[in-house]
Symmetry: C2
């Protein structure tokens, strides 16, 4: 049973806040579910594995785990729901701006602030086989511990790209031939179930939970029909409808 | 500025736990968003409105609100996120077992335990105009404060039916001519995007987050195709795919 070095402990504490994560090059993963995914998907990024005494789990660790007493573990990781496994993980490398898009259409999350929504969308994107997602500034940190928990580590299965403002993001995409931009809109617009070419080198922008997507020059409004009386759909549910419409059209069986 | 009667205060405290809600005939709604919905949808059920001093919100109250000091309010409602409005609401009346189904197909939530998933599904059902949902025993309490917050009060826009075990539930539905039962299954089965008659006097059962739906005699497996490598879809996302497939087929435009 050991203890962490002061330096490592201080790094781990600092990663709980955005300011501390920024520039550190690391993120934290808490709990067996997301940890299991990261250990499977990106063992190369796992820098340290910290276990609380008594932790049981059938994992292959790429590095020799540090086993801490319950008191020591809880001292560095003071969360009620911590389940006795903590990974210190290198942040995946940023993707260069001109790196070719590798998906048939591009999903852009514009200032989606809630890590729960972010995580659900990433898990769903993974389920449909979309291997890349773009975020604008103002969207939740893809590698905060909340985002990692909420996505169950699915962000390590995808390429997450982040290149600044929505305007700059759309410019980059246009350069690569992704020029038709759909902007999800609550009341009217092209019907997600009828629009031809919706997933053909297009960009689909999902917006902030409160304010939706801002105005975009030359964009097409995209509407998810809602025959009921709800005012609007949660953004993660909207993403699910769009992503599975892609599945429906693309994978006939 | 007043105080609640001891009796009322004790009722409100007791409603925070399932045991206390059971048989009390009441539920609690916390926060402006869900409260606004309930005040709009079912003002007849609102028994008492409790406001913290300084609360600002533009609502029509069916009863004269009780205004409490911040200290008094926080004493009875000790949650960090409470936003200064609390409704004491009569639980909607139970629906008799033989009450005719009023939807073209029936969505059954079988032991869906998480109030967050429950709430998301209810909100989505409301968005697509499904006016009735069935729950089996073991599903989250539709009227716990967590469920109400998560659904933003949408359960008051629908009829929520609960008639015991899954087996008994399916027997009741069969009597009303809803005999074809679909059981969502992760790996194989009828394709949700291709199955004819999927929404035609059928029953679609969504199962528990961990274990899925149990075995059902004479049921048809229903599959949501997932070309990616995720093991299975979150149950709320699965519900969203199914409910919007219903919209896609039913409301051409």
């Amino acid at each position: 049973m050991g203890a962490l070095t002061k330096r490592r402990e201080s790094l781990i504490r600092s990663l709980a806040v955005r300011h501390g994560r920024k520039g550190s090059g690391y993120c934290l993963c808490d709990g067996p579910r997301a940890s299991g995914e990261i250990l499977k998907l990106r063992p190369d990024l796992v820098e340290q594995v910290i276990l609380r005494e008594g932790f049981e789990g059938d994992f292959d660790f790429p590095v020799s785990p540090d086993l801490l007493s319950a008191a020591e573990f809880d001292r560095i990781r003071n969360t009620v729901h911590s389940q006795g496994i903590l990974l210190l993980v290198k942040r995946p490398e940023d993707t260069p701006e001109d790196e070719p898009v590798r998906t048939p259409f591009v999903l852009v999350l514009d200032r989606i602030a809630d890590p729960g929504n972010f995580g659900t969308i990433v898990r769903t994107a993974r389920a449909v086989g979309l291997s890349e997602i773009w975020l604008t500034d103002g969207t939740a940190d893809a590698y905060s511990d909340k985002s990692i928990r909420s996505a169950s580590g699915a962000q390590f299965a995808l390429r997450i790209r982040r290149h600044g403002s929505l305007e700059h993001t759309l410019q980059l995409l246009k350069k690569q031939g992704f020029g038709r931009v759909y902007r999800t809109a609550p009341a009217a617009g092209a019907n997600v179930f009828r629009e031809n070419g919706l997933f053909d080198r297009s960009v689909i922008v999902l917006g902030n939970e409160g304010g939706g997507v801002g105005a975009i020059a030359d964009s097409v409004d995209l509407n998810i029909p809602m025959p009921g009386d709800a005012e609007s759909l949660n953004v993660a549910q909207a993403a699910t409808v769009i992503l599975f419409e892609y599945v429906r059209r693309t994978f006939p069986c």
